[in-house]
């Protein structure tokens, strides 16, 4: 039986991301902030892309980075707190995910680096001037209510 634990997923409404050359580029369409995550942080972000609990993230990060610090859970938790504070991930109802088959376990591990979110807010002013920048298939317009 699956245990009920906190499971996080990437915020689906306003976050877009891509991992290139081992670095995640994360864009917040709502705020105009954008972020980068390298190394361990990029691995954790990729796991979160599938939806994951703390145990799953720790397990998958530990499989591809070394040496794993004794307090790995604390460090990953701190990174998750950063992501939550930036509203890049959300907690969803779920259960502990099953371990995934991961071919990366057969390759040499990457060096461990403490997971950090590099954040940039230099474009926020563009959204302050133009508050609606992302318009999807549902469309904008808002019809003016009858007076």
């Amino acid at each position: 039986m699956a245990n009920s634990v906190a499971v996080w997923v990437v915020q689906p409404e306003w976050v877009m991301s891509e991992i290139l050359d081992g670095e995640a580029v994360i864009v917040d369409l709502r705020s105009g902030r954008y972020h980068a995550a390298q190394g361990v942080a990029a691995t954790a972000w990729s796991v979160l892309g599938r939806g994951a609990d703390l145990g799953t993230i720790v397990r998958e990060v530990s499989a591809v980075h070394a040496p794993v610090p004794f307090d790995v859970e604390v460090r990953i938790s701190a990174f998750i707190d950063q992501l939550l504070a930036a509203e890049l991930i959300v907690e969803v109802a779920g259960s502990a995910a099953a371990p995934t088959a991961d071919s990366s376990r057969n390759v040499s591990p990457s060096p461990w680096n403490d997971p950090v979110l590099e954040s940039h807010d230099d474009l926020e002013d563009l959204l302050l001037l133009d508050p609606v920048h992302d318009v999807g298939a549902d469309g904008w317009p808002q019809i003016a209510p009858p007076k």
Partner: protein
């Protein structure tokens, strides 16, 4: 009011303005597509067309794929029709409101404030309207890079990204310079122009992500005082408009002043992210593709409203396939041009 009647109302307004003032036409090719500007009177066309003057005229008989109707209220006396939209008030300048629409193949974008403009594109028919309050009040930065919203909307579904960036090189290959304002894009592109490299754009270029190709859109450059001081022989800036704010950048026309530097299109050899680090010379060093994506995507996505997710995907596809380089800018900008020329001279 549904979207169809909105567009019809805008077309009717454009027709009425054209009846009153006559139609002035410019047709050019951009990225192999024929675009026709039909202006009611000369006013809006005179503000918009110079940015495209370096592009080739359309070949006789080649069908128009995008027809953009232009009119202004001040010269035509035709007011913007009531589009029945709620205005969204931003938290920026007083009275700054914006109402974009995207759905059913039609998009609209209203800018109140400095531009006082409405852009509307109907994808299905390849027709668009730009209505402005007063052509004479179109600000210099908009004259340098006009119709951005319409072109962004029209090109993106075709896989072409109207990207915030500069590009220099030759028809055999170009580098795309990406980064936020003040990072050194214009300084670098002008240094390359002065060193004899070809010029595709200073502020915006069109990127074909699948073909990994860059196209020139605008023949303009936005010029800070240091650019004018550094390259007085290179650029003749436009006279400022009476209503220009004192801190407005001047607009210059590198491809008007140096037509032989014109490069319309080229395969992309590298994405280059400049940054001022100091020191005597400029250095070019490899970096992760993610850094080019960070420099290209957010600014491109947030500067022009539209489908940000599609823009992000196009940016990813573009940077994934070519090298990404960091250009560390030092005092001697000729070394930047030299370093970039070295990249361009390598065998692809």
């Amino acid at each position: 009011m549904s979207r169809g009647p909105r567009f019809r109302a805008l077309l009717d307004a454009a027709d009425l303005a054209a009846q009153r003032l006559g139609v002035h036409v410019e047709t050019f090719e951009l990225a192999g597509r024929v675009i026709c500007l039909e202006s009611a009177g000369p006013g809006v066309l005179a503000a918009v067309a110079p940015a495209f003057a370096h592009l080739p005229r359309a070949a006789e008989g080649k069908p128009v794929e995008l027809r953009i109707r232009l009119f202004d209220t001040a010269s035509s006396g035709v007011s913007l029709p009531d589009l029945g939209l709620t205005q969204v008030t931003g938290s920026g300048a007083e009275g700054q409101v914006i109402t974009p629409i995207i759905s059913d193949g039609g998009q609209s974008f209203v800018l109140h404030g400095y531009e006082q403009a409405v852009s509307y594109l109907d994808h299905a028919s390849g027709q668009a309207v730009l209505a402005v309050a007063d052509a004479a009040a179109i600000p210099p930065w908009d004259r340098a890079c006009p119709l951005r919203a319409l072109l962004t909307w029209w090109f993106a579904p075709q896989g072409l990204l109207l990207a915030h960036g500069a590009a220099v090189g030759s028809e055999d290959g170009a580098v795309v310079l990406v980064g936020r304002g003040g990072s050194g894009k214009s300084t670098t592109s002008l240094a390359c122009l002065a060193a004899g490299l070809g010029f595709l754009g200073d502020d915006y270029v069109l990127i074909d992500s699948e073909a990994t190709r860059v196209w020139s859109i605008y023949g303009s450059a936005k010029l800070a005082p240091e650019h004018l001081a550094r390259y007085p022989e290179l650029l003749r800036p436009d006279e400022p408009l009476a209503l220009d704010p004192p801190d407005a950048k001047a607009v210059g026309w590198p491809l008007r002043d140096r037509p032989t530097a014109r490069v319309l299109s080229a395969p992309i050899r590298a994405f280059v992210v400049p940054g001022v680090v100091g020191g005597p010379i400029c250095e070019l060093i490899p970096q992760a593709a993610s850094r080019a994506l960070m420099a290209l995507a957010p600014l491109t996505m947030f500067q022009t409203p539209g489908d940000s997710r599609l823009a992000f995907e196009l940016a990813i596809a573009a940077v994934r396939t070519v090298p990404s380089l960091e250009l560390r800018l030092g005092d001697d900008m000729t070394t930047a041009a030299f370093a970039l020329a070295g990249i361009l001279n390598e065998e692809p």
